[in-house]
Every structure is written in C-alpha cells, then in structure tokens.
C-alpha cells in the first residue's frame, strides 16, 4: 500500500551546523505535507507545511523542500541548537481519500553542544 517513510532513523549534528532531515513518500496524489517535531514526553507539534503546488517554503530557521518528481521531502534546520533535539515526523495528506494524514517513521535528531 501507499506509505510515507524516512530515510534515516537517527541524525547527529554539532550545535551550529545545518541539519537536513529527509522523507520519501509513495503516493503521487499527495497534495499536502507537514513536518512535526516531537520532544521527549510530549506529543508532536507542527513545524511547517507545504502544498504540492509549491517546491519550497521557509519559516523561522526552517525550510521545507518538495521534489514531486522523485516524491521527496526535506526539512532543513539552520544553525541547529540543542533545543532542536527531538524526533521529526513528516506527514502527508491526499485529496479524495479519507483526508486523514499518514505519518512516516520519524528521524531522531541529536544535537551535540
């Protein structure tokens, strides 16, 4: 069946470096994508979203890139800080289905001071 998944389960970076977290999706009809951040002991929190008619969207220190040709999504975090340490999930939603988002496996980002 269709699935959303992440390439790497763990990403370790040094404080101040840029982080890139990747996500692959398989449903070519997906039209909305969200990145969530889940800190230890908490539920996921919205970071940034992008519609399929866009290929880039920027927020505060975060940028999401969408490549529909290869069905790939990435989250870039600039100047990574210890507070960015968390598990990051991508999720996709598709018009014409249940309109319920599908989540990927998650990438654990570890920021070393």
């Amino acid at each position: 069946g269709e699935s959303v998944g992440l390439h790497l389960p763990t990403l370790s970076v040094q404080e101040g470096d840029n982080s890139i977290i990747n996500c692959a999706y398989s449903n070519s009809a997906s039209d909305y994508f969200i990145w969530y951040k889940q800190e230890s002991g908490k539920g996921p929190q919205f970071i940034i979203d992008i519609r399929s008619n866009m290929d880039k969207r920027q927020g505060q220190r975060v940028t999401v890139l969408l490549n529909k040709t290869v069905k790939h999504l990435s989250l870039q975090i600039a100047a990574t800080q210890p507070g960015d340490s968390a598990v990051y999930f991508c999720a996709e939603n598709t018009a014409g289905g249940s309109y319920i988002p599908t989540f990927g496996r998650g990438t654990s980002l570890i920021v070393h001071p």
Binding site: K42, F89, S98, R105
Partner: protein, 116 residues
C-alpha cells in the same frame, strides 16, 4: 500551546482490565484522532472522528472502541487490556470539516499505558 488534554498521563494495569483513556479539547475542533506510538516509531492511527456521532476505524482499531457524544470529548476504551497494548496513546484534533487536506493536527501529551 494547544488546548488538548489527555488523562491519565501514566497508567499501569493488569491483564484483562477494562480501561478508558480520556481526551478533551477546548478549541471546538470537529476532527479528532487517536494514535498509538511505540518509542521512536511511527504513529499508527487507531480511530478518528469527523464530528459528533461520527467514529471511524483506523489501522489498529480492532481491540478498542471510541465514542463522540460531545465535540470536545473523544474517549478511547480497551475492553480487555493485554500486554501487547503497552504503548503510548496520543490524541489529536484538527480544525477542518470533512474533506480538507490542509489541516494541522494538535496533539495532547499522551497517555503511557503499561499492561502487566
């Protein structure tokens, strides 16, 4: 900060017990969801609701039930808990009504369930 609350925060029970996990939101959201999550793993959809009197099954629904009598309340019930139910249970809500894909989910802090 999202106004969605889950109780209890932690629960340890014996096999065979009936339990209800509570979830309430004060945002007036129509859609609500229950997810099960093991540590470091993806979220699995258990049940969801489009609004009052609407309940739908997700991927892992066969051993639990939900109800949606009021907009703000979406409890999850396990009729007979088993060790395989040990996991974290996350409740979420979103603002959209029915057929909308551009919705952000707001999550509670979760209930960590341990079945002995």
């Amino acid at each position: 900060e999202a106004d969605i609350y889950q109780t209890p925060r932690y629960l340890v029970i014996g096999t065979g017990k009936k339990i209800t996990l509570e979830c309430s939101q004060t945002m007036g959201h129509d859609k609500m969801y229950w997810y099960q999550q093991d540590p470091g793993m993806e979220l699995h959809l258990i049940h969801y609701s489009y609004g009052v009197n609407s309940t739908e099954k997700g991927d892992l629904s066969s051993e639990s039930t939900v109800s949606r009598i009021r907009t703000e309340h979406f409890p999850l019930t396990l009729e007979s808990a088993r060790p395989s139910h040990t996991s974290q249970y996350l409740c979420a809500s979103s603002e959209g009504q029915g057929a909308a894909t551009n919705e952000k989910l707001f999550f509670g802090s979760g209930t960590q369930l341990s079945v002995l």
